[in-house]
């Protein structure tokens, strides 16, 4: 933040004046995205089965106010926390693996979390949220580590093949989870856990999500080191950045965030891939610059999916995971085709 003011105070030679002005883009983008998000967020507070209008709140109308505070506000909070953290986790993962199609949702990480949830449910029963989270985090780390291990050994350098391998891997893991769940008659409850859905957000489960902003803050503090690591090991070592340690930290952050979000509200397919891709396409890969925008855009993306899911078949709800999966899937395919065209 301080860099803009420092630049002005620096004894700037005249010719690079234009260069300086362009840097303002950064703040304008964040401000615009934030404004859009605030408007959408306020709007979402007053969409739902029971009618709550802003006037009701002033009137201290009993029922309306209760719905507002016990359901709408937690739901909005969960959306904002999950959306921003998942998008940032995707951004970090894509930078560190140096492949813009690698995200927790395309590396099998999400599916490993699902397997972890099944195992935790078998071990601790279906009520222990903390047990689920602990085991989900462990499985998430294992899954990401396995994928990165594979990635280092893949001779295929085709940028498009890598995520497909991840998705295949995820398919295998998710089949294993489904088999286990089927054997122990947990299929329905596991499906309900896995698909991103904010309608169940009232209490007891979503509070875990308060852990993820911390991960986002750490990611922001490390943004420059992540950018440097994303340049490759040679550049990182040259600039004195401990490459392996930084990459490990980033991948741990991405895995832990993914586990917590999936346990907290379920998975939102492609969110961690689509949002960072769109943001970096527009603004480049300098993480310190794009990370805040990515967080805001991720939150906005989920919010829009949620509002769409709530209004499209009103008074019924389509889970946000389904809406996000459709929208995200389409964008993902467009991005893939675009990458293909660029290579060709």
């Amino acid at each position: 933040m301080s860099s803009t003011t420092e630049r002005r105070s620096g004894a700037a030679p005249a010719p690079s004046g234009q260069v300086r002005r362009r840097r303002g883009v950064r703040r304008r983008h964040v401000a615009a995205a934030l404004a859009a998000l605030v408007v959408a967020a306020l709007g979402s507070l007053f969409v739902g089965v029971s009618d709550v209008s802003p006037a009701d709140l002033l009137d201290a109308d009993e029922a309306g106010t209760r719905v507002f505070w016990t359901s709408r506000v937690p739901r909005l909070t969960a959306i904002l926390l999950a959306g921003s953290a998942t998008a940032v986790a995707g951004l970090v993962m894509m930078s560190l693996t140096r492949n813009r199609f690698v995200s927790p949702q395309t590396a099998g990480t999400t599916e490993w979390v699902g397997l972890g949830i099944v195992v935790a449910t078998l071990a601790f029963g279906s009520t222990s949220v903390l047990g689920k989270m602990g085991i989900a985090v462990a499985f998430s780390l294992v899954g990401t580590a396995l994928f990165v291990w594979l990635l280092q050994r893949m001779v295929l350098t085709d940028i498009v093949v890598v995520p497909l391998v991840g998705i295949l891997l995820g398919g295998v893991v998710s089949a294993a989870a489904a088999f286990l769940a089927y054997r122990f008659e947990l299929l329905q409850s596991v499906d309900a856990w896995m698909n991103g859905d904010f309608s169940g957000v009232v209490a007891g489960r979503y509070e875990l999500l308060w852990l993820v902003p911390a991960a986002t803050v750490v990611a922001y503090l490390y943004a420059d080191r992540f950018s440097v690591a994303g340049m490759g090991e040679g550049f990182a070592v040259n600039l004195g950045v401990p490459y392996t340690r930084v990459v490990t930290l980033g991948l741990v952050i991405a895995s832990v965030v993914t586990a917590i979000v999936v346990v907290g509200v379920g998975s939102i397919p492609f969110l961690g891939l689509v949002v960072p891709n769109l943001v970096t396409l527009a603004l480049g890969d300098n993480l310190r610059r794009v990370l805040p925008v990515t967080a805001v855009t991720g939150a906005a993306f989920v919010l829009v999916c949620d509002v769409v899911g709530r209004t499209i078949r009103y008074p019924y709800e389509i889970p946000v995971g389904t809406v996000g999966g459709v929208i995200g899937g389409v964008v993902f395919i467009v991005l893939l085709l675009r990458a293909r065209r660029r290579v060709a």
Binding site: E6, G10, R98, D224, V237, N238, L239, G240, V241, N286
Partner: protein
């Protein structure tokens, strides 16, 4: 000053650097020459702690590169490798500014910005400042990388084939810039060059490698002889004096 003390490195059964002991004095340009596969890049990578040596040590101003903390060394020695596949979409200015990372950790001071401006101007990058790296030609990108390394402001600069992808004008310009870094800024510049005449025209000292072994080293004029070049490159070479420079002309 960079000291190599009995440095060896093997890949599998092949010894790529074979017991090299060598001192590169402070200041000036030193060129590593040798045939393809002679081990030039490997030796440079070991000095830049991008590769661990199997045996021996490399000291930069007395600091062992294998044990000195990364950030400390990054303020004394900068390196650019031969191949630099970078998929990150940074603007040229952002890339060059990352050269200041070892000093300011990303929070650039006014002084940092001045140094970035200076490096950009040296390599005529101002018109490209806001372009993303993937929108540049290979030669423009090479200039951006070297500008970043220069911006790092280290006493020692190691460059592996810095003329990669450069056209004649920019190659000459690059070598002049590097001369300037050595003469005006007092940096110790170590280059890998495959063209012995580039080494002859622009460097103060030459280090010749063959199959991982040090064949000869010393002031440029002493090394530009037909006998030595034959020994290093395995071709018959005539050496002619042209405008005060020694130029090797291979027989064909």
């Amino acid at each position: 000053m960079i000291e190599f003390r009995s440095v060896s490195k093997s890949f599998g059964d092949t010894r790529v650097v074979d017991d090299v002991s060598l001192t590169i004095p402070t200041g000036g340009i030193t060129s590593l020459v040798g045939a393809n596969g002679a081990g030039k890049s490997t030796l440079l990578s070991i000095a830049a702690r991008l590769l661990p040596a199997d045996r021996g040590r490399v000291l930069v101003d007395g600091l062992d590169v294998a044990t000195t903390p990364g950030p400390v060394l990054a303020r004394r020695l900068a390196v650019l490798r031969q191949e630099n596949a970078m998929s990150v979409r940074l603007t040229v200015r952002e890339l060059v500014a990352f050269g200041r990372f070892p000093h300011s950790g990303g929070r650039l001071t006014a002084e940092d910005h001045r140094l970035v401006d200076e490096a950009m101007a040296w390599f005529e990058l101002d018109p490209l400042a806001d372009r993303h790296l993937d929108q540049l030609s290979g030669g423009q990108r090479q200039r951006a990388y070297v500008a970043m390394v220069m911006c790092q402001g280290t006493d020692h600069v190691l460059l592996d084939e810095p003329l990669n992808n450069l056209d004649m004008r920019h190659a000459v310009q690059m070598m002049r810039m590097l001369r300037g870094m050595a003469d005006e800024l007092g940096r110790t510049v170590v280059l890998v060059v495959h063209d012995v005449n580039v080494a002859s025209c622009y460097s103060d000292r030459i280090v010749a490698l063959r199959e991982g072994q040090l064949v000869a080293e010393g002031p440029t004029a002493d090394l530009m002889t037909p006998e030595l070049l034959r020994g290093v490159f395995d071709v018959e070479v005539e050496v002619h004096e042209l405008a005060g420079r020694r130029i090797g002309v291979p027989w064909s």
